[in-house]
């Protein structure tokens, strides 16, 4: 018998890569259609203004301009929907239209559309449009927006409050604080970030007049969902009249989950003009007008005993949602934030209150980690503050308060489903060992004597992946407007080739490789004979897409279950072929045979042929091996780990240099370690970027000061360290493969490791907290003021 090499667990290089390394990828802007026209958008330069009139006559006269439209022209389609109405925002949800009419609510709000023969002419025409704006007062700060006298954005949202939401136990928490031995209070800002996928966003729409059907190529992480939202909500047409295709997508990080104006206005104009219309943002447009992330102002308090037991956590957060609600914005600072606020600790009394606020800024929605980085940053900063207050080793405070392995499934009391599995101490211990914790304090003391400021920061995190089940997330309080299951179809063709279609939408995660590894093992077929198809609503089953680290835990499990169904059917057909009892058939290594006689086996290829030609099939068995699963998990998964950073702060300049970065992550059973590490690297890079470099800044007039890559500091290779990674493995009991998810863990674990290290380094200056990003200037000022 041949031995079959297991694919799962191997660091296979990716099958996605050959075309991407040779310049043969197919990204949105690479697509050209016959008769294609180009759109450019006139955007409000004011953050808040009444639009008295728009004169497009001069622009229309420019040769090469095909048409110009304004918001008034597009009133026959509906505003974009808000699909995650967490915090019961139904009555004051305000969402953007394809183009704004009458008013602009942030600098970058689209108010007119030029369609022209090429993109240069379209841009020229923008300069010829004359708009009479009446500027209105502006507010950009979430807390100030709720104060009396602040400019009002929407009539149905007094004081700009979109929602007030809470979770946990208020009375018990207040009681814990009034009887606490120690309490520590801090205002912690989680600054606005701009996701910055290297490919910007856009859409290319084509309309077929004969059939009334649209095709839209889009830079989307969730084309099936876009199809649903654009047809049922925006255009009011049958879902079957729209086909959505995501070609290669150049990174998403959340920003490409949502339903955007450009999808709607390219469709609308393509129908109107009878020509395909392409719109691709430039980078400054992406910065001004696509979604941002984070932007929380939080008052937080932690209570505990002098010997290091945490007894209470109280949080009040002002979450800036921007000028309108983006597609899933309300769910981010609520379900994905407050409910995981207690982190990896047993905290007997916790309470979190969140105000979701409109301001004259770009919309804020999910950005890598989405709510969980904000939560883990908060608790991990406060645990360090608490440790410093009582003079205890921060590693020991963590160890003392960890949820213990025997506590799982663990209910944290915040209205979340129970944490599935975890074992936090080994990850902490391993990370401490890797970083040489035992010796570090001596080194630090030595260095300080020489005027060198070393700091070490620990972050022990837990996060929520593969958010589900639908029945929980769809509860009125959670407000998700649809399901969160995932789909997979698998077909074994006559030739024995296996075709998988999935509702997941990989855009850099290597899902084609990972999924093929799973199928190859489970079905016992060569890896090369498995094809993974995705990203086109024509030809793939409905799926919710790729975000929230859900592709493997949810989409991969759907696939796993479909494979099991194929094996069941194959066994029935094999029994018929072998004239045996189906109950006696075993399936292993791509063959079915009567138990004990593997030499008399039928290969999957032979069975697939039999199933396809269908000359002779058992009674009641349909032809073809073709199985679909719609998998709705019973729970989310909860990856965890400990990250530790060592930094050195330059006493003269305040520059922070990262000396070591260690991460020990537990993402459940690994399928492809190479890909997992890649996901962690990229995630950690984005967390470090938040801690040290990036800040989406508006001035008080609502102008985005960090409006280009010149001003918004996406780190380059020289600004980031080597990541020293290791793993512990605690399988998830939620799904049969025991997988958890790795797409966001790095981001969720990292920012606070860096900030705790920076603040530790600044301890000699009496610094207890510092807001992100810890730029040289900010650090230097902190050193001066103590």
């Amino acid at each position: 018998m041949t031995t079959v090499t297991k694919m799962v667990g191997q660091s296979l290089k990716r099958r996605e890569d050959p075309k991407l390394i040779t310049g043969k990828g197919n990204f949105l802007d690479d697509i050209k259609l016959q008769g294609m026209s180009h759109a450019a958008i006139l955007r409000s330069p004011y953050a808040h203004a009444k639009i008295n009139s728009i004169d497009t006559s001069k622009a229309k006269a420019l040769p090469g301009v095909i048409a110009i439209f304004t918001g008034d022209d597009m009133m026959d389609i509906n505003p974009l929907p808000c699909a995650w109405q967490a915090g019961r925002v139904q009555n004051n949800a305000n969402t953007p239209r394809a183009l704004s009419a009458g008013k602009a609510l942030y600098a970058g709000d689209g108010i007119a559309m030029v369609v022209a023969e090429n993109r240069y002419i379209a841009r020229d025409a923008l300069d010829l449009i004359e708009v009479d704006y009446e500027p209105l007062p502006v507010v950009v700060d979430a807390k100030k927006a709720t104060e009396a006298g602040a400019p009002q954005l929407h009539e149905n949202a007094p004081n700009n409050i979109c929602m007030t939401w809470d979770c946990g136990h208020k009375d018990a928490t207040d009681a814990a604080f009034s009887s606490a031995e120690v309490t520590v209070k801090e205002q912690i800002i989680n600054q606005r970030l701009i996701p910055t996928p290297m490919e910007t966003r856009g859409a290319l729409a084509r309309y077929d007049e004969a059939t009334g059907e649209f095709t839209v190529w889009m830079t989307s992480q969730a084309p099936h969902v876009m199809r649903l939202l654009l047809t049922a909500f925006v255009f009011g047409i049958p879902e079957t009249k729209l086909r959505c295709i995501s070609p290669n997508v150049g990174g998403g990080f959340g920003q490409k989950i949502f339903c955007y104006a450009d999808m709607a206005f390219t469709m609308w104009a393509a129908r109107k003009l009878g020509r395909p219309v392409k719109f691709v943002e430039d980078r400054s447009e992406n910065y001004r007008s696509s979604t941002h992330g984070r932007d929380h102002i939080t008052d937080v308090e932690i209570a505990g005993t002098k010997d290091g037991t945490i007894t209470g956590l109280r949080i009040e957060t002002w979450a800036n949602l921007g000028a309108y609600l983006s597609t899933i914005a309300p769910g981010i600072p609520t379900t994905l934030y407050g409910r995981i606020a207690t982190g990896v600790y047993k905290i007997p009394a916790a309470y979190c209150k969140v105000h979701g606020v409109y301001t004259n800024t770009a919309m804020v929605d999910a950005y890598r980690g989405a709510g969980r980085p904000e939560a883990s940053y908060l608790i991990e900063r406060m645990v360090d503050r608490f440790a410093a207050e009582i003079g205890m080793d921060p590693a020991e405070v963590r160890r003392k308060n960890f949820i213990q392995p025997s506590d799982f499934p663990y209910d944290n009391g915040m209205g979340l489903l129970p944490y599935d599995s975890g074992n936090y101490e080994p990850a902490l211990d391993r990370a401490l060992a890797m970083v040489g914790y035992a010796d570090f304090r001596n080194e630090q003391a030595e260095a300080r004597k020489q005027g060198k400021y070393l700091g070490l920061g620990i972050s022990s995190y837990v996060e929520i992946c593969g958010v589900a089940p639908s029945a929980w997330i769809g509860l009125p309080g959670e407000g998700w407007g649809a399901g969160l299951w995932e789909s997979a179809n698998i077909r074994v063709h006559l030739t024995g080739q296996v075709v998988v279609t999935t509702g997941s939408l990989p855009h850099g995660q290597g899902v084609e490789t990972t999924f093929a590894q799973i199928v190859a093992d489970e079905l016992g077929v060569p890896y090369e004979s498995v094809l993974i198809e995705h990203s086109d609503t024509a030809g793939t089953p409905f799926g919710y897409g790729t975000y929230g680290s859900r592709s493997l835990a949810v989409g991969g499990t759907a696939l796993y279950k479909s494979v099991a169904k194929v094996k069941e059917k194959a066994k029935k057909i094999a029994a018929h072929m072998l004239e045996a009892n189906p109950a006696d058939i075993e399936y292993a290594d791509g063959k079915a045979y009567v138990k004990g006689s593997p030499d008399q086996a039928k290969t999957l290829g032979e069975i697939a042929l039999q199933a396809s030609v269908a000359y002779s099939l058992p009674e009641g068995v349909e032809p073809f091996l073709d199985e679909t699963t719609y998998y709705d998990p019973p729970n989310c998964t909860f990856p965890f780990g400990t990250h530790i950073a060592i930094v050195e702060v330059d006493g003269a300049t305040g520059m922070v240099a990262i000396k070591r970065y260690v991460g020990v992550d537990d993402v459940g059973n690994p399928i492809n370690p190479l890909i997992i590490d890649g996901q962690l690297h990229g995630g950690i890079a984005q967390g470090i970027a938040q801690a040290l470099y990036e800040h989406g800044v508006y001035d008080e007039n609502g102008q985005l000061v960090s409006g280009t890559l010149m001003d918004y500091a996406v780190p380059n290779a020289a600004m980031l360290p080597n990541y020293e990674l290791d793993r512990t493995v605690t399988p998830s009991p939620v799904n049969p493969m025991g997988v958890k998810g790795a797409g966001e863990a790095g981001t969720i674990g990292s920012a606070q490791a860096i900030m705790n290290a920076v603040i530790d380094a600044l301890a000699p200056f009496g610094v207890k907290h510092l807001q992100m990003p810890a730029t040289a200037e900010r650090v230097w000022r902190a050193m001066q003021s103590h």
């Binding site: 310049g23 430039d282 690297h681 990541y723």
Partner: protein, 162 residues
Amino acid sequence: MSTISVTVNGRTYQSDVEPRTLLVHYLREQLNLTGTHIGCDTSQCGACVVHINGQSVKSCTVLAVQADGAEITTIEGLAQNGQLHPLQEGFWEKHGLQCGYCTPGMIMSAYDLLQQNPNPTEDEIRHGLEGNLCRCTGYQNIVKAVQYAADKMNGSGNSPGE
């Protein structure tokens, strides 16, 4: 309109271009060489890097007319006779890409780097690629990919180090 003559990946083209046409748009839209990408409007990201007369250049900062008479190599021209360049191999072997959007520019810049410094240290690689942004990989595997290529191009028998 101006007429230019350029040799791209070994093939010579005569084209009419508007004087204001950026080289990157000319390559992508007139020659359909879409492997060269655009990631910004301020010359920061490096997604558009190509070689003009053997030197790496951000093609979003050059007008097509300025390239008149030049020899240009884009990512599509790097593999020879179906044989991947060691850098392309390195990126594949070391998982130096995720979404792949930055990759063509990254590879073209790394090529220039290795021309100038065939044996770069990790630090030299990181600094040498400062003009290229990647949002997916966190750069560590890009560094490894370049080390892999350097080792291979130098013919060293050493297996590319970690």
